[in-house]
Amino acid sequence: MENKEGKQEYWRWQEYRSVMPGRNWQNSEIITAGVDVGSVGSKAVVMADGEMYSWSVMRTGSNSSDSAKKVLDWAMEDTGMTAKDLNYIVGTGYGRVNVPMANKAITEIACHAKGANYIWGPTVRTVLDVGGQDVKAIRVDETGKVVSFLMNDKCAAGTGRGMEVIADLLQIPIEEVGKMSLSVTEDPKPVSSTCVVFAKTEAVGLLRKGWSKEKVLAAYMRAMAIRMSELIEKVGCERDFVITGGQSKNIGIVHRVEEILGIKRLPVPNLEQTGLDPVSAGAMGAALYAKALYEKSLKR
């Protein structure tokens, strides 16, 4: 993508939205929404009677409450639905306290666990959520409830933001870095830095040494994958294993984590047919909790 000066912005990923074909919200009894404002991406999911109706994924701007509003409006665009039609809204994610229209804020851990349970079913036990700014390993039970979780203590390296920085440095569109990193025959030694600023410096050094972009990417992603695998091993990796968050799209990371752990993640469902996008798992969980909370409020 190009910015106003015509300069290509390699880190800039494509925003997207969709409405499930053939589904009519007017006939539904309960309409709920989940809004997940992450540090890099904002996600909104609208559910009609607990089923996917529409969703949207866009970049988080400098103002979380604006981003929350924008992403939800985009999910409802051209559907005839307005905020008034939503029975209950749950906000989650890094900027969850800044979702002004939300009836309630819930931690992203609980929402990702619930969302993963919805996408893949009750067999999911281990969820690796790789977001824009941190990595979380979550153990869940068959109902999608959190059993234990581990927060990454380190900063942006090994996450979506770090990946954007490296894509920009190497001048490779962010959507292609994963595939490109897999084109090396064997992974080189992983970069040693865990801080994205240092990792960038280290990558520059490797390029100077004559390393190809592919090799640098492979070294960076190997380091990221090792760190993620360490987190998972701490909580214990029980089958079935899934990956959510923006980096679930990065096959360079996914393949390496699978290789290190010696376990395959469950495959990602067809997005167009099911609307089940692992990037939006947190927003899905939020929309599901919104339904449960709304039903509970009716019983009172």
Partner: protein, 100 residues
């Protein structure tokens, strides 16, 4: 109803070993004693969402989550006794410190 523990690990693992403050949300009775006892002010009460209910649970503050290696270093136990762990009579807080 089946009791499920909701356990949170805060900490790190690196060349020096691993260090985690582990908080069990089910055991925590929201008393807040640990917050007062932490010499670094690294703990606070956080709302957790368990079984569609909100519960106040002790947690490491967001700004401290990524620097526990420094924050916790004065308390890092040789004997396994850390103020936050010692003060909790519910045994909701434990500390894992395995130097390499």
């Amino acid at each position: 109803m089946r009791v499920i523990e909701v356990i949170t690990y805060y900490g790190y693992q690196d060349g020096s070993g691993e260090y985690y403050i582990v908080i069990d949300a089910e055991k925590c009775n929201s008393c807040g004693d640990c917050i007062e006892k932490c010499p670094q002010g690294a703990l606070k009460m956080e709302t957790m969402f368990i079984d569609l209910e909100d519960k106040l649970v002790a947690a490491v503050t967001e700004e401290q989550r990524k620097k526990l290696r420094y924050t916790c270093s004065p308390c890092k136990p040789e004997s396994g006794v850390v103020p936050c762990v010692k003060t909790c009579d519910q045994e909701a807080i434990t500390c894992i410190w395995k130097p390499k």
